[in-house]
Amino acid sequence: MQVTSSSFKENTRDALLNPTLQNSLKRLHTGFVSSRARAAARMPEFELLRDQARDIKDHVLAHLDIYLEKFELVCRAHGGHVHWCRDENHAKDTVLDICRKANAKTVTKGKTMIGEEIAINDHLEANGIEPIETDLGEYIIQLRNEPPSHIIAPATHVSKEQVADAFRLTHSDLDPARNLDEPDYILAEARAMLRNRYLEADVGITGANFLVAETGTSIIVTNEGNGDLTQTLPRVHIVLASIEKIVPTLLDATALLRVLARSATGQEMSSYTTFSTGPKRETDVDGPSEYHVILLDNGRSNLLNSEFKEMLRCIRCGACLNHCPVYGAIGGHAYGWVYPGPMGSVLSPGLIGLQNTKHLPQASTLCGKCEEVCPVRIPLPQLLRSWRFLIHEQGLTERKFNWGFTIWAHLAKRPKLYKHVVGWLVRILALVALNKGRYKYLPGLKAWTQTRDFPAPQGKTFMQQWRENVDV
């Protein structure tokens, strides 16, 4: 996927002026936020579960090599194949190779963010293999030829009218006058269209919410059941997973599942939680004859050895996106890569470099709402600050702001000079305000005064007045 994070400011402007997007963002906020709050309130031990979830992930990250090797061993013992992939290209080529060996013409896909991260659809298409998304949201954005705008609700930015338009355009064999006014009709049409594609597909690709070292199992959660059909009907099942998805035991996986859906959608459990362990056995009635797991690193080993290690706890629930007032204002596409919102603003610079993504850690008020709802207690605001430290140290901040802060710091370190300068500044500002109490325009603060008045100082500084009182 093309990275457009460097044009974050332009992306933002477009997003703020897009009425369809703004409408859908309002819905998203009220829906997910209130559902999560209710789910958390219903469970008295929810906070303890979050501690437990954090501890499980920390334990895994401290012993990642051991659990990954254990997973590989057990998965192979069940007849599965494990592929260690360093980076995006390595993973793409591995998937293509498996598809070619299977003589694949079409590939069905369950929802996978790793698939987005390595842009697997583009790679398959370029090599004559047709990928078909089976998650409704992913299917919609595939038809619209755009990336997801949310990690669990990929088409949240699309209105139902836009979906209907995309369906009419793509499903051109159907009656153009058919009714697509209701979500139910849209859903029924998508199901009908996808049903045959499941049966035709040679390969099914899914993501993994968890990989279980103890049993060699991959776990996916879905609400549509599309993942089950994707991984059981085709001959070959490929699981795309990044290395931090591993958990030691099934018990650990269930502990994480208890916080995942509650944090994501406010459900107690997703409608489907599917466990896959190896290919079909002789006694099984269905299932793939080949089972492959791609273990993708793509920069994560580097994060593991950095101050951003805690980011690898993330279980991709999307709660930080749903609660973030910045995400709520601009939606996911403005962030310019696969992972939006607070988790993306910490993760993306780690995976694709700070140069292109330097706006992301800066475009936050550090309000802390994300950390408040994170099921694995990732200290997101502090990690955003850590990127800001690096941005500053690498000289990537805008020059005018750098100047401003250098002057401010220079003054703040010299109390006597500070008092003189701010004393005069405040007196001048107060004079200019002419008892109006605020400014409609202030040079140097245009970014503020374009949309807001700027309150004027009362007169002398507090310190001036205090000294005068004390001296009397």
């Binding site: 400011k9 933002t12 402007r13 703020l16 007032p325 910045v326 204002a329 601009i330 800066q362 475009a363 008020t365 309000c367 802390g368 709402k369 950390e371 408040e372 502090q382 600050r385 800001r388 430290f389 690096l390 500053h392 140290e393 901040t397 805008e398 702001f401 802060f405 250098t406 401010w408 710091a409 003054l411 703040a412 370190k413 109390p415 500070y418 701010v422 500044l425 405040v426 008892n435 109490g437 605020r438 409609k440 603060l445 970014a447 503020w448 374009q450 949309t451 807001r452 008045d453 700027f454 309150p455 004027a456 100082p457 009362q458 007169g459 002398k460 500084t461 507090f462 310190m463 007045q465």
Partner: protein, 255 residues
């Protein structure tokens, strides 16, 4: 002053110092009213939060050293701001992690620094304040105060004692107002959208006055309300608690 009194230093904060000294005087009045011996150390400037959140650890640490030294001698240090108090309490110890001597000093200051309403309620046990003000108000929880320092009930408890005041909750109370320090300049369009969302909620709540504990957020919200021609007045909570409302509300014309 008797030596038995609690020795409190006011860290007035740069925004209050420059823009709204009345908040500083209200803070002094409230603490003196509760029996404290309040000093205002002369060498104070800024807590360093703007440079810290912009990624400049070096300058922030230099500013922090000066703040630590300035406030070394006092039992308590109190700021009429959750974000400045949060900076000192949460982030100074981070800045000096692994720096001998200064890390201990930063932890020591962290144990003595309080946001004003939290100091009044949690440390001094104040239950009654002198303020009288007839208005329908709501309180906006500033993010740092709420999430770094756990300030939620304290200002509400104190406001409940102000005669004539009716305080109601509004939907956006815990959601960021869009100020975010330099964020509101660097990403002003996003900031404005966030502020607009709060203003919409405030307007539909039907309150006459908005109160809060952080001047940055209040200046932002007042600036937007005034630009939109709203009649909702904005004040720092200390002014109402201390009954010091003779100065116009934030961004309002002087008569």
């Amino acid at each position: 002053m008797s030596s038995g009194q609690t020795k409190v230093a006011l860290f007035v904060t740069c925004l209050v110092d420059l823009f709204r000294p009345s908040v500083g005087f209200a803070a002094v009045k409230l603490m003196e009213g509760a029996g404290c011996n309040v000093s205002v150390p002369d060498a104070q400037t800024c807590c360093g939060q703007p440079t810290y959140n912009s990624g400049d650890r070096k300058n922030s640490a230099q500013i922090a050293r000066q703040v630590i030294q300035t406030f070394e001698r006092y039992d308590y240090v109190v700021a009429p701001s959750g974000s400045c108090a949060g900076m000192i309490k949460e982030h100074y110890p981070r800045l000096f992690e692994g720096v001998p001597n200064w890390h201990e000093k930063s932890l020591n200051l962290a144990s003595r620094i309080y946001e004003l309403t939290s100091f009044l309620v949690d440390v001094l046990g104040v239950t009654d304040v002198s303020g009288t003000y007839a208005a329908k108000t709501t309180y906006h929880d500033s993010c740092s105060g709420l999430r770094e320092l756990g300030i939620k009930e304290q200002p509400r408890k104190l406001l409940a004692g102000v005669k004539g005041l009716k305080t109601e909750e509004y939907d956006g109370a815990e959601t960021c107002c869009g100020f975010g320090g330099t964020f509101c300049i660097k990403y002003s369009e996003i900031s404005d959208k966030m502020t607009t969302n709060r203003i919409d909620q405030l307007t539909s709540s039907g309150v006459e006055m908005l109160l809060g504990g952080d001047l940055g957020c209040l200046m932002n919200l007042a600036g937007k309300l005034k630009r939109e021609g709203s009649l909702i007045q904005v004040r720092h909570v200390a002014e109402i608690l201390a009954g010091m409302t003779d100065r116009p509300a934030i961004g309002e014309e002087t008569n």
